[in-house]
């Protein structure tokens, strides 16, 4: 392995927290929120791939592939939702949609 696993993990962690920040901070645009989620998922994929390389097994890469598949499904549905909501309210501000409360 070209670099120690710790370094790969550090990179992944940095990317993960950046994605988290993006998710939390972008209330005014739900698309940016979804982008944050993408970043976090990528960071997870990096962890899987790095550890798969570290231990020489292919299982990590398999799982990275599955993450990708799942992400595609999720993104398509999420964006369909965004389109739908935008048609209803003509806004993409997350805080505007509050009907689901007690």
């Amino acid at each position: 392995m070209i670099v120690p696993l710790e370094h790969v993990l550090m990179l992944a962690i940095i990317l993960f927290s950046l994605g988290l920040v993006c998710t939390l901070v972008w209330r005014s645009n739900v698309i940016m929120l979804l982008i944050g989620i993408e970043i976090m998922l990528n960071a997870a994929m990096l962890v899987f791939v790095g550890s798969s390389c570290h231990w020489g097994k292919a299982d990590g890469q398999v799982f990275a592939l599955m993450i990708m598949a799942m992400t595609s499904a999720e993104v398509s549905l999420a964006l369909a939702l965004v389109v739908y909501l935008h048609r209803r309210r003509n806004t993409v501000d997350v805080d505007e949609f509050r009907e689901l409360r007690d």
Partner: protein
């Protein structure tokens, strides 16, 4: 040499992501993000996962991000130059939380010392065998999930008769 390459690519990824986060124009943000995905794919390649690298570029940067782009342009969210970036006050709490998580996991990760079994090259063949033999059921399930997603997206996206 691959080591230096890795670090350069790591820096590129991080900078790209940071720019993507702080960009107020969604299309610009997506472009930055594609950049960071590209460098991430090369990192994958360096980490002996060429297939995953290819998939990253084709599926992630190619399909998912383009889908994002489609939706952004379809929604036509108004004048992007006048869009507001979130205020500094709104950045504070997420930064704190992100920082906490970063530090904690970082400490955890740094303290890890694992012993590698055998650092060997993982070939595509080995990957395919693992995928279809060991995780065959998972593939079926994932394909069903993709089916659900297609149906759902179709349903949500249909136009109602006004």
């Amino acid at each position: 040499m691959e080591q230096t390459l890795f670090y350069i690519l790591a820096v590129v990824t991080v900078i790209g992501t940071i720019l993507a986060i702080t960009e107020k124009h969604p299309v610009h943000a997506i472009v930055y993000l594609v950049t960071s995905f590209f460098s991430l794919a090369v990192i994958f390649f360096l980490l002996a996962a060429p297939l995953i690298a290819m998939f990253e570029i084709i599926i992630y940067a190619g399909a998912v991000m383009v889908l994002f782009m489609f939706v952004i342009m379809m929604l036509d969210l108004g004048r992007p130059d006048e869009a507001k970036r979130p205020a500094l006050r709104q950045w504070l709490l997420p930064l704190i939380l992100g920082g906490i998580i970063l530090v904690s996991i970082g400490l955890l990760a740094a303290g890890h010392s694992g012993v590698p079994d055998a650092a060997g090259e993982i070939t595509v063949r080995e990957f395919a065998v693992t995928l279809f033999r060991k995780y065959g059921v998972a593939i079926e399930i994932i394909s069903m999930q993709l089916l659900f997603a297609v149906v759902g997206a179709l349903y949500l996206g249909r136009r109602r008769r006004p």
